[in-house]
Symmetry: C2
Subunit: 226 residues, 2 copies
Amino acid sequence: MEDVKVFGLWSSPYTQRVVWTLKLKGVSYEYYGEDLANKSSLLLQYNPIYKKVPVLVHNGKPMAESMVIVEYIDETWPPFPLLPQDAYERSNVRFWSKFIEEKSMHMMEFFLYDGERQERAIKETLETLRVIEKESGLSEKMFIGGNTIGLADIALGWVAHTLPVMEEIVGVKFITIDAFPHLHSWVKNFLEIPAIKNNLPPHELLVEYFKERRKVFLAMTCHHHH
Amino acid sequence: MEDVKVFGLWSSPYTQRVVWTLKLKGVSYEYYGEDLANKSSLLLQYNPIYKKVPVLVHNGKPMAESMVIVEYIDETWPPFPLLPQDAYERSNVRFWSKFIEEKSMHMMEFFLYDGERQERAIKETLETLRVIEKESGLSEKMFIGGNTIGLADIALGWVAHTLPVMEEIVGVKFITIDAFPHLHSWVKNFLEIPAIKNNLPPHELLVEYFKERRKVFLAMTCHHHH
């Protein structure tokens, strides 16, 4: 009997990576929603270093870091592998997974700031999207490094689902069919996968949630920087 | 016949990760030293995204990002595996490898700045070392996640070899036997491995090189920030 627990936050794109991967693999799990203002003692015990969601506990063994968890799930439940068989193709997917992971926080900065800093952040997000559009092979394949969903797609998943929420609140639109035709198709392909489509937080709730987060964050940064 | 090429910089800790891994595995390769002020057109062609060393080219196929390369080498040449057999232990090593990789640039900041910013950077480096000292299991094992050298040790390798050069130039000492007994042992264990010991850039040349780098960097940052 497998005992799988996820400690997460419904609105967190990092939690979603783990949930999507478990759903893709058909793994049953118990979900424990965390309150970030009042984290459970279990979460702090399981992730003493970052004290963050998501955490996966498999047969009593905890682990943290969404992409590390996703790779663990992929190795532990082999059906629908997220990495190609070929070592060179695998390294290519790992390269993009790492690139996306390292850029994700920066790509969200347009949402966390205002004014000049926001303008700069918008330029940087566009530049990162341009690199993915041109270099990640999406002009030839449906997903990053293949025609089935993989590790790098899971890393980029928030761009399909949470980015539009942030765009709506700020009033910008990055991924249009004209500016990023391949990424535009990728978003469609990604959201058509049942394990993804059926496991998305409701858009309207996300808009409400992130509106509030932006307010809190802007109040904090104004206080510090002006 | 294997055709393995490395494009690197003799003083780069990231290049060393790749060189050490190839030496550990006993893989022969041709080494191409790059001049960062005048990068070769091959380097730019092989790593269009970062335009950085190291790059590995295996049978004509290029790849970039030191830790992605190290994992590729580990999968392609199985002897002396850098990841444990057990999936949970493997995810633990990947967690630390990622942690170290993400912190490495920050841990070098004490070397790149002066004054207040340097003081802050020193505190942050100490804090990161404290987390590794206490949480990475070095109190129980010789290396991170095991008693043989692994992926996370390769990621941390610069701390054994390049950090002392930076410390010497700045005039600080982080890893003493009193402050970090486990890391202190780890440095010794790491440097005793023949593939590491026999493939280190000469200390005196590194001191000279990094002294010059620090001068250039400080001149740049003074200009920008004051």
